[in-house]
Symmetry: C2
């Protein structure tokens, strides 16, 4: 590895210059700004280091696919990343222009530096470094860089299902999201799933005067209140029949990992909430990673302005997101949700599904995790935290469930990368440590 | 009365011209446009017919007060009306300019023609007609014309309490709102009261990601749902302890009046609802006039746009209006509402009061009602409906409770006057029949 790490150190400035070129090219998937141009640039950056690159169409923005075969290698590693970025607005809050990457205070600032171009490009430069310093890779590498992660990866599942032979691999790896609050590296083994639902009730065909007509029209706002109150009781227990049947509790090893997770009891005070008890960490993380949740993210009915308006609103609706854990199935949960409404007499509820991702978890004791931990120790010189799951949701299951291969995610961006916000950044040292980590991982995976 | 009615008929055109002058003067209380000018114009129109008129300040827009003493008269009638109007917007929906009164199709069109300038001016022209045709009035008349009915008469109660001697009277009378759907005249004996409340729950100091932080922050939307579900059960019963204790059921005479109310079972089909059963009228009207109600007129939490946003909203609120019936007291009901929240463990609810009117009812067998009925028969040549109460709310109690005098309301505007909407109108014949009705009422009241 020493030759490889020396190569990285010698080419630091060029690597940064090349990353700046990638950041300078806007690729805002939500606004369809520069995405195709960015795909072309990224493909040319792959070709430049000897990777066979193709721009492959999907139902949405294209995938940039790259492949390097390692003669005689038994293993194939599929590396995922995304080259699209969030919209930069509000522009007035940026201290440097979002698409003019700027080096300052030990960081590279700009839209996409952290999420995800800087992390993605670390993988690319790792492959270059191994190829140039060692002459060949120890594993076959496939790059799957999508162009619409920031618009929910809608078309990626279809692409993956249609391209199984192309994507065939033994392991999947990615670097996305931030490190832990103390910038300790973390290895993420999974995500919670998600199911979105919008429930609405309709009354008359328009709002009516609550005094003149109140008693004679249906009251959708009350129907909504009573329906919602059947879903989750006042103590927070979800009351949908069979909702938690498939939930797998944490293993002993996972519980041990929860105990080791760094926990900051005063972190919540920034949200205006009282501090947690210092010993609350394991219970906190268990709820976050191993328990499903049923959240109302929007409630709407009638008058929204100041003061009041004496109407019976003709419509009321709630937006709900359910976080799912292994082995809950969003299709099954949606069916149970609908059945719950019927069983409680809410046949008048209109229930619309809004997407859904399966939960996904790679076992904490999978050899890929240990390989990643060794690579992090070499690349970052730090001990990583093993995190069984994220509280949030991403399409991890496209890999673990659709392709059937294990995946871990090792973020290279700092905890305050400001992804999805103004003044996004990646630390210069995080970028280089990431390159070294990915390079080391190729050898660790080859040895599995 | 014949001389008086002849006088009305002879001066039809001038009366209409003078009403047009009043309508032409904007007096939009919500926008403070032309209100003072309209008060001055109305006062001059009173002075012109021999009424002593004064423009009296309130904490808001001024009251126009007028008085005519009838030598030797034992009775005083206080006539209420309002000279302010609703904003005319949306202007593009008007077929004629709102402040250019236009005669067409047997109606006078313009903002305020029905609500309330045309009806108020009928009283003024009635007094002129009696004074000119008979030389003197049979009762003392006081005019109380307010300038902020359309912004909830906020300052009128204070004005009345501060001016009891000035306003002292035996009976109160007004004409506001529309006639029944078949344009049959109606005599309204009361109104339901109203109490507005806004309930909100607060969680963190901002919205947080439902995946990353969901389990650790309070869930105000769920608190709101569970609190609301304690207020009113799924069958529509209000569950606030003591809420209905003061409710007085309809008398036998009032029940008989409900049976006689014209009822159109298919009226609700215009709202997209199934028709009522033909015999449902009495129960329908009893609910509307004699039963309190607890309505949600607004629900707000979190994300209101299309699609979804996976946040835990940091705030959730409901706007509520309660319709109250005799003898419910909005102060008492507010206390019970707050006590209910505490008793059910919702000490974290922020409960804000939004105004309130007492319910008000003049007994159906009060002699003022019979006097008004006789006046309507003479003025309109039609049999009036006796309506114990309106479903809506207005500050009727300022008269019945604060001043302690009975009041009836006899609308002169057509059922489709479009008050508060574009293309407002009053029928020409309704205006003249109103003048005759008020003129006749002066004699009926004198004979009580």
């Amino acid at each position: 590895m020493q030759d490889i790490f020396r190569y990285v150190d010698r080419h630091r400035d060029r690597f940064m210059t090349e990353l700046c070129a990638l950041v300078r090219q806007p690729s805002i998937s939500a606004q369809n700004v520069g995405v195709a141009e960015c795909a072309a640039l990224l493909a040319s950056q792959l070709e430049a280091i000897g990777v066979t690159a193709r721009i492959l169409p999907t139902a949405g923005h294209p995938v940039v696919f790259g492949e390097v075969r390692a003669p005689g290698a038994a293993r194939t590693l599929l590396i995922y990343g995304h080259y699209d970025v969030q919209p930069p607005e509000p522009l007035e809050l940026w201290k440097t222009p979002p698409f003019e990457p700027t080096l300052k205070d030990g960081r590279l600032w700009g839209r996409g530096t952290g999420d995800n171009k800087g992390q993605l490009f670390a993988h690319v430069k790792a492959v270059e470094s191994v190829l140039r310093a060692a002459g060949t890779l120890p594993v076959n590498v496939k790059f799957l860089f999508e162009g619409e992660e920031e618009v929910s990866s809608h078309c990626l599942r279809g692409f993956i299902e249609a391209n199984r032979p192309l994507l065939a691999a033994d392991y999947a790896f990615c670097s996305d999201g931030p490190m832990l609050p103390n910038d300790q590296p973390t290895i993420l083994f999974g995500v919670r799933g998600i199911l979105g639902v919008e429930v609405s009730f309709q009354g008359a065909n328009r709002d009516v005067h609550s005094g003149n007509l109140g008693p004679f029209v249906p009251a959708p706002a009350w129907r909504l209140v009573h329906f919602l109150s059947t879903l989750r009781d006042a103590e927070g227990r979800i009351r949908i029949q069979g909702f938690a049947d498939a939930v797998v509790p944490p293993s002993a090893q996972e519980r041990e990992a929860l105990r080791r997770m760094p926990f900051d009891p005063v972190a919540l005070t920034g949200l205006g909430l009282p501090p947690a008890a210092p010993g609350d960490g394991p219970a906190y993380f268990e709820r976050l990673m191993f328990e499903p949740a049923l959240n109302i993210n929007g409630l709407t009915s009638g008058y929204q302005g100041r003061g009041s308006k004496t109407i019976v609103p003709h419509r009321a609706s709630a937006k709900i997101d359910m976080r799912l854990v292994v082995n809950q199935d969003p299709d099954d949960i949606f069916e149970k949700f609908v059945a719950h409404a019927k069983a409680h007499g809410f046949n008048d509820a209109r229930i619309e599904r809004r997407g859904g991702f399966y939960p996904s978890r790679t076992p904490l004791d999978h050899p890929l995790g240990a390989a990643a931990a060794r690579a992090v120790r070499r690349g970052f010189g730090k001990e990583p935290v093993l995190q069984p799951c994220m509280g949030g949701s991403d399409p991890d299951y496209y890999f673990t469930r659709v392709l059937g291969i294990p995946r871990v995610n090792v973020p290279y961006a700092p905890h305050d990368e400001n992804n999805h916000a103004p003044n996004e950044s990646i630390t210069v040292e995080g970028f280089y440590a990431g390159i070294k980590t990915t390079a080391a991982l190729l050898y660790e995976v080859a040895a599995l």
